[in-house]
């Protein structure tokens, strides 16, 4: 009797929380990062109003810009986590410098001088990554008219 009560409680618990999660579960099952990226690109292509030929030229430049942005935006956001995280970005110079500085700060016997050196290394890596973003942005901007540039700025893809 008690074990059936336990099972009932389990089902009740699942049911209560599940009422809100069922549509969400269905949504999660459908999530596919590749398809998501394709949908975002298709929407962007439509917003920009470019032809297929123009898109063939523009798309790799936009991809390069997004990669550069990912590499520059890495930072410590909690115990052992970084934002945003792709494999390539996690191996980039900024991520490496972040990890080295973090290790130095966490060691109790690190001197202020050692911290300063690692801090400067991270600041240099970020400056280089930011410069790469600016260069990639310039390549994209050179291919856009005023309306297209405004579309990309309004979507947070260009500065």
């Amino acid at each position: 009797m008690f074990s059936s009560k336990a099972a009932l409680m389990f089902v009740l618990g699942l049911g209560m929380a599940g009422a809100t999660s069922i549509p969400a579960m269905a949504q999660e099952e459908r999530f596919d990062p590749v398809k998501m990226r394709q949908r975002i690109e298709a929407r962007l292509k439509e917003s920009l109003g470019v032809t297929q030929e123009e898109w063939k030229v523009l798309q790799p430049k936009i991809a390069k810009l997004r990669d550069a942005q990912k590499l520059s935006q890495i930072g410590f956001v909690g115990r052992g986590s970084y934002l945003p995280s792709t494999d390539a970005a996690m191996q980039g110079p900024v991520a490496v410098a972040v990890r080295e500085l973090q290790g130095t700060v966490e060691r109790k016997d690190s001197t202020p001088e050692q911290i300063k050196v690692k801090l400067q290394a991270l600041q240099d890596a970020r400056a280089k990554a930011d410069a790469d973003v600016v260069a990639a942005e310039a390549e994209v901007k050179a291919l856009l008219n005023a309306r297209q540039e405004a579309v990309m700025v309004s979507q947070g893809l260009l500065d």
């Binding site: 389990f10 009740l12 618990g13 929380a17 999660s21 949504q27 999660e28 405004a150 947070g156």
Partner: protein, 179 residues
Amino acid sequence: MFQASGFEKEREMIQHRAVLMFVLGLGMAGALSISALAQQNGGGAKTDTGDEQQNRARIIRGELADVLGVTQSEWQTLEPILDKVFVLRSRNRFGGGGGVAGATDANPGPAIPIAEASRDLRRAVTSKDATVDEIKAKLQALRDEKAKIRAELAAARAELKAAVNVRQQAILVLHQYLE
């Protein structure tokens, strides 16, 4: 007596198990619903208001205060500057992407100049009637607002940097309060 006590124990154990199963059930389904809700909200960045940002900032900084190893009185000095940097940093990061302050036409959110400029530009680029000059003007207005935010952020960061030692500065760089 022995039997009664054993029965009591067993009943207690089963009741405990029932509660545990209930919590487990809630937990399992809850974990799924939380991640899905986060997904539904677009990762949380889209609907940040100033208040939500401040609340989030307080939670994150509860941990930060420990990591920095500051005294209560030092924290009282640092906290308002960290608040300022946190909000300005969020506006700088999301302002151009329609991120700050809700930013839907139906629910425009609080009046934050960079959010308004961002909204105005979005309306202009989606309007069939907007001329190229109008779009350029809205784009420039947004960039001007971004420049203002960046200047305020740089000033707040300079104030923060002046209030901490090298180790604390490094920690704040890792947490992106400082550059």
